[in-house]
Amino acid sequence: MTMALIETVNIGQKYAGQYILKDVNLNINRGEVFALIGPTGAGKTTLLRLLDLLEVPASGSVYFDGMDVTDNKSLRLQARRRMSFVLQKPVVFNMSVYNNVACGLRWRREKEATIRQRVSRALELADMAEYINRNARTLSGGETQRVAIARALAVAPEVLFLDEPTANLDPISTSKIEEVLAHIIGDQKTTVVMATHNMSQGQRLADRIGVIMNGEILQTGSPGDIFSTPQKKEVAEFVGVDNILSGVIVNRDNELVTIDIGGNLIQAISDYPIGEEVHALIRPEDITLAPRKDASSARNTFEGRIARIFPVGALVRVEVACGFPLLAVVTKRSAEDLSLAVNKRVYATFKATAVHIIKRWN
């Protein structure tokens, strides 16, 4: 039996008589980075609080390093001393930044010299060294978040829990913190469990992602899996598969199937039989736009008119009406090169392999 570092068996939590987390079975392996993603109110924070042993589940059990820590107080404290947690809304104690970061170490009865050294190191990692003597209550939002991260790092946890760790940080601070995390993940083999709504952060840092919605884990898998082959419509929507088309499989030739989307035929790769009602998922960045129909190997080409164009950072999102609405993403540069404009006629092309098929109503 290979043992997960943290294992939950059917845990649930309820508030005011209502289950807001139901039957979660999750293994967190030693050394992995696990990201929980999901919309507001999905239960991310609740689940992290159960895993960090801050709360006792209403049902089910939690195992840490092979021990049942569901409700044994002293085991829980022992286990908790091997973890630390950066809360979603970080609070600092009304004392200096130094003392804030030193707290966890003091509680573990470390020597003053060790404490001094570890606090300095943690503050340097979080780029907060110059604030060491400030009262932590006077810090700005982002500074507070970085102190909270330093405080959690200082105790050199085996498991680090992070709840939206960079929500209050600008892109530069975010990448610094991500570097620090990458570093401790690589160097110290720290297990990391994070909740984030920033999916690209999940993608960048995580080994495995769990998608949670309405208190249930809908899918876990590698970032690649989650992003390219979501198993449910909700997951697909959430991870940015903007094209979700409902249809029926009307033909198949080995693995190549033809799907009827309200009269338009799309080709894709799938195991489902003829007659199956499915969703066809296509990531907008997998769709190419061209002024002419060209002879590419792509199986699917549709002619249409541009319905809407809107820029997003370095990219442009283009909505094409081609019997059904298709959303494509192109770079600003290509948009300029193709001189895309509303009402312009274009050809939207995508490969059969870029279409991911899932069964409907599952």
Partner: protein, 228 residues
Amino acid sequence: MTELWEGLVTAVKLIISLDPEVMEIAGRSLAISATSSTIAALICLPLGAVIHSNKFPGKRTLINIVQTLFSLPTVAVGLFVFVLFSRAGPIGGLDIMFTPVAMVIGQVILISPIMLGLTISALSGVDKAIADTAISLGASGLQTAVITLREARFAVLAGLIMGFGRAISEVGLSLMVGGNIAGFTRTITTAISLETSKGDLELALALGIILIVIALVINLVLNRVQQR
């Protein structure tokens, strides 16, 4: 009105001249109430933290009872202690009636609900996230209590000062179980009551002023400590 002025003058004179009798009863007042406040604080701070941080059935009722005991009349506590420790009482053998020990016991009973209730209400103002953060950083129950009390230190201190104030200013209890014995259990408040019943209002007022001066000093010291 002249009495007020004369009381003030007398107070200043007594303080400046370090009148030995006044110094003695002032010292005793301070010693007795400081002792009972310390004992009560040692009981109530941890107990308050435990009650605050645990959920249990009847918690609300318990707090109601504690707050009800804010209204304990000193003389009732005095009677209670008297009945308990008097010769005919269940633990009369200890022979502590009319000694400072009995006064300390009575004061601890009197002020414990106050310190306990105010500790709990001070803690109620602390963001729950503080305790969560401490726990998540590996604090034990006791360590969590300490940091939470520390976050509420201003209000916690106010509670302690209130308890001390109640102890040093009470008189019914001290009279009842101390007996106002000159040179042994006479405190500032029992002396005030005696001087009042004698009709020496100036001296009574002067003693009152001295009491407040003592309280002020204690207060400043505690605040200094808290601010460190």
